[in-house]
């Protein structure tokens, strides 16, 4: 009787709500598509206008300028911009170079986890054979050793190996500096390191509740091309 009636009414209300929701969604979709259509029409109109302008010639606007000159100049400027962008891309890869009168000058840039660190330069002569004229590579990087192995035979490998060494060195140095900076309250004194930053020794404290535990750490990086340690010794 009454309950059954109420149930049917409930079911009807539910259905009506569902239908309303559906129509709402449809309307939203329609609105979105209409907006998209308007956007595309606008773009098309703009491009069309550009094409028309180019076809009619630019003399319509300036009047005094030679129609041929600005467009050649615009092309040149575009070329310069895209060349500069290309050089920027090369620089960002980490190894870039420029031909010099007597050879080529390479710039090796280093980075660690997205942070740009130092750049190092190598001025090479190419005649009578490839050799290093000047450089700004730190003295503790085994440049002569790497050059002896690869410079004459495979210059790409030479640059890749040297770049690995330099990137790993600056990465290790950066990590040591960050460690000293951000954990200075936990580390006792200063980090004991060396020029290549491939051996780090330090003491730090771990406190829990009322006790503090002193730890002694020794990080060894035997792979000079790697910025992570190969051997870690922690003693209490």
């Amino acid at each position: 009787g009454v309950f059954a009636h109420l149930e049917t009414l409930e079911a009807q209300a539910h259905e009506a709500a569902m239908e309303e929701e559906e129509t709402e969604q449809q309307e939203e979709k329609m609105a979105r598509l209409k907006a998209r259509v308007r956007e595309l029409r606008l773009r098309r109109d703009k491009l069309q206008a550009k094409v028309d302008l180019r076809q009619k010639g630019l003399g319509k606007e300036g009047g005094m300028l030679d129609p041929a000159e600005p467009s050649a100049r615009a092309v040149l400027e575009w070329k310069i911009r895209s060349l500069k962008a290309m050089l920027q891309v090369f620089y960002l890869t980490g190894i870039s170079g420029k031909l010099t009168r007597r050879g080529v000058c390479f710039c090796l840039s280093t980075a660690y986890e997205g942070i740009y660190l130092d750049s190092y330069y190598l001025d090479l002569l190419t005649k009578p054979e490839v050799r290093i004229h000047r450089h700004s590579v730190p003295i503790f990087i085994p440049l002569e050793h790497i050059a002896k192995q690869y410079l004459q035979t495979d210059i790409r490998r030479f640059l890749a190996v040297l770049s690995d060494h330099l990137n790993a060195y600056t990465g290790r140095r950066y990590q040591a500096e960050q460690l000293q900076e951000h954990f200075s309250d936990q580390i006792e004194g200063t980090l004991q390191s060396n020029s290549l930053c491939n051996l780090l020794v330090f003491k730090y404290n771990v406190s829990s509740k009322s006790n503090t535990f002193p730890f002694s750490v020794r990080l060894l990086y035997s792979d000079l091309c790697c910025s992570l340690p190969t051997e870690v010794t922690v003693s209490c």
Binding site: K84, L87, Q88, F90, Y91, S96, K98, T100, C105, C107, Y121, D123, R134, H135, S136, V137, P138, I139, F140, P142, H145, T190, Q192, S193, N194, S195, L196, N198, L199, V201, L220, S222, L224
Partner: protein
């Protein structure tokens, strides 16, 4: 506290400029803050040093602690000494792990095994520089704290900077200890000397500015743009020549400050070239002659020679090769061959 230690501390404090004394004592850390508060740093140095000695007496300073103060002084004022550069060689190429404790142990052991009476102190700085102070004695006398040798070494590099004392006889022993401790095979003195330790480091570590050609746009130097003269009647007659000189100078010397050297010495062993009719020297012997350039800042003055109009640009490579060849003592001999030019001995 020993009388000699007290006297040594007193004399070391007297060397320090009065305004710096407090800061240096704080760096030393031997006297506590409260003790330092009791000293009047505005009185004459004689009295300041007496007060410092008294406080050191209270803390019973020994010679090792006094030596640390000396290192700190020399580290802040290294230009009071003359530094020579030594280069070490090794044939093996395995990766070195330079362990500081290992280095110090080996160094001390080698020196002490040869000489019992010796004071050795180490101090490390953040730029990985290890400062070593050595006071030499003899088998029969205590170490003379006033005739000390200083060694500055950066780990994993082949260069050592030594400011030897008057006692040159201890130099071979010192070199031996360095080679042993740093795992190298031999050591030789380079022809590079100066008062400015940092400039010597700049030269051998190649930290000075070299002009490398790159595509990557770096901030342009403003020096090119000369201030426009208000008076347009003044015309630069040889502007292009001036610009050429600037350009050549920049190529050779780079843009940044030059390392500081006080002199360059050229020992000439070349033949005297004169009109054959004059016949000045009938014996064909090299005309021995020593040319020495002195300056408070030699390389900067060489850099300014051409722009000042006192020399032609480019300068002689004998002068401009100094930082690159890392030497300021040269021997120039006659080149044997077709060309009568002189060449620089290696």
């Amino acid at each position: 506290m020993d009388e000699t230690v007290a006297e040594y501390i007193r004399r070391t404090v007297l060397k320090i400029p009065r305004d710096e004394i407090k800061a240096m004592l704080q760096k030393w850390g031997f006297l506590s803050e409260s003790q330092l508060q009791t000293i009047n740093f505005h009185q004459i140095k004689e009295n300041i040093s007496q007060e410092v000695v008294q406080l050191c007496e209270e803390n019973s300073a020994d010679i090792k602690q006094a030596a640390v103060l000396d290192i700190i002084y020399n580290h802040i004022y290294p230009n009071k000494r003359v530094w020579s550069v030594y280069q070490m060689n090794k044939t093996a190429e395995e990766t070195e792990f330079f362990d500081l404790t290992d280095f110090k142990k080996k160094f001390k052991r080698r020196l002490r095994s040869a000489l019992k009476n010796i004071t050795i102190n180490f101090r490390e700085y953040e730029d990985n520089a290890i400062w070593i102070r050595i006071a030499w004695g003899t088998p029969y006398t205590k170490p003379n704290q006033y005739k000390t040798s200083y060694v500055v070494y950066h780990s994993q590099t082949p260069y050592v900077f030594i400011s030897a004392s008057v006692l040159k006889s201890n130099l071979p022993l010192l070199c031996q200890a360095l080679v042993l401790a740093s795992n190298y095979h031999d050591i030789r003195e380079m022809e590079l000397r100066s008062h400015s330790l940092n400039s010597l480091k700049d030269i051998v570590f190649k930290r000075y500015s070299q002009n490398f050609q790159t595509h990557y746009p770096r901030p342009l130097q403003e020096r090119n743009v000369a201030p426009e003269n208000a008076d347009l009647r003044i015309i630069q007659e040889n502007r292009s020549e001036k610009e050429r000189i600037q350009r050549v100078n920049r190529e050779v010397f780079g843009d940044g400050p030059q390392p500081k050297l006080e002199f360059a010495q050229y020992r000439l062993e070349t033949m005297f070239k004169s009109d054959p009719k004059m016949d000045v020297l009938d014996k064909k012997e090299p005309f021995r002659c020593l040319v020495k350039f002195s300056s408070p800042h030699l390389l900067e003055s060489l850099k300014s020679l051409a722009p000042a109009g006192m020399a032609d640009a480019p300068l002689s490579p004998l002068l401009t090769c100094i930082p690159q060849k890392a030497r300021n003592y040269f021997k120039i001999r006659e080149k044997k061959g077709v060309f009568p030019e002189s060449f620089v001995s290696p």
